[in-house]
Point group: C2
Chain length 176, copies 2
């Protein structure tokens, strides 16, 4: 994998790179990406909805955030806790890192650390920071697919990673 790289273009946040016959995009000035799967005691998942210009429409997603974009040496778990509260207004008392997963290995170097969050408490309205306009949804896992399909029919994009939530919600059972 030591083939030399060529930059095909670079913005403030992303760089497009060619390596041999491959092309991919990488984030610039970000040390990690975190995503949170917050599950309530009632068996609901907390989701966020926000405008995504890349998709041309709002997208429904699990809460997520960049690490190291503001403070270079920020701890990923600390960033995840901050982002969850900023975006959703929830804090959680139980955090477990589940796995690190690639977003789309054919086109980006991005990998994401996934956290299961339980012991949720609503402490604020959420909605994101000054640059964000986030709507919070608390959705029963039993109705998740039906709910997402109705939102898709209504013009929302759905982030594929939302469909990891049913597995994550059952995770605790798997380990006893």
């Amino acid at each position: 994998m030591s083939e030399s790289e060529e930059s095909l273009g670079r913005g403030k946040w992303l760089e497009l790179v060619r390596q041999g016959r491959w092309e991919f995009v990488r984030r610039v000035n970000v040390s990690a990406v975190v995503a949170m799967i917050p599950i309530t005691d009632a068996g609901e998942v907390v989701l966020v909805e926000q405008a995504r210009p890349a998709l041309g429409r709002p997208c429904i997603e699990i809460p997520a955030g960049l690490v190291g974009d503001v403070e270079a040496d920020e701890d990923p778990l600390a960033a995840a806790k901050r982002e969850l509260e900023e975006e959703t207004g929830f804090t959680g008392s139980e955090w477990r890192e589940l796995f690190e997963g690639a977003a789309s290995g054919g086109l980006t170097s991005e990998t994401i650390r996934f956290y299961l969050v339980r012991g949720l408490e609503r402490v604020g309205p959420g909605g994101g920071d000054d640059s964000e306009d986030i709507t919070v949804h608390v959705v029963s896992l039993d109705d998740l697919h039906t709910w997402l399909q109705s939102k898709a029919a209504d013009g929302r994009a759905i982030d594929a990673k939302v469909y990891i939530a049913p597995w994550a919600a059952g995770y605790k059972a798997q380990i006893g």
Copy 2:
């Protein structure tokens, strides 16, 4: 969403775009992306492993492919069937489109159509086309997370979408 776009760079496969304060990458000359979740009668999922220069290491993924990169008007389902057999050596008798999901709406316009595939039959070795070198893994869903974690410890990247398989495998039950 009519803010004007500026191209920051373009390769053969990808283009980096700026729109207002947002940057994202889009695929060029591709009409859709398909991903297949093949579940055997024995409760296993069929996964693929291949080199991913973007990640700097091999990645374990659900089978997937581009639509329209060879024939502009190719049907997504037909492409999905062709790619599944090419990559894994399996054909399936039952195909169901589950949903369309964004890969990572913060950095790419890519969306993926997910198919649940059952009635699997192994008809060839798989491994991909001449430009690909794919290893096929057939993994019990009961052991999926443990197996993936051992592969991660052994230096493989894991595509996050693999963790959609447990939900998809239970999908049939949900609709009776």
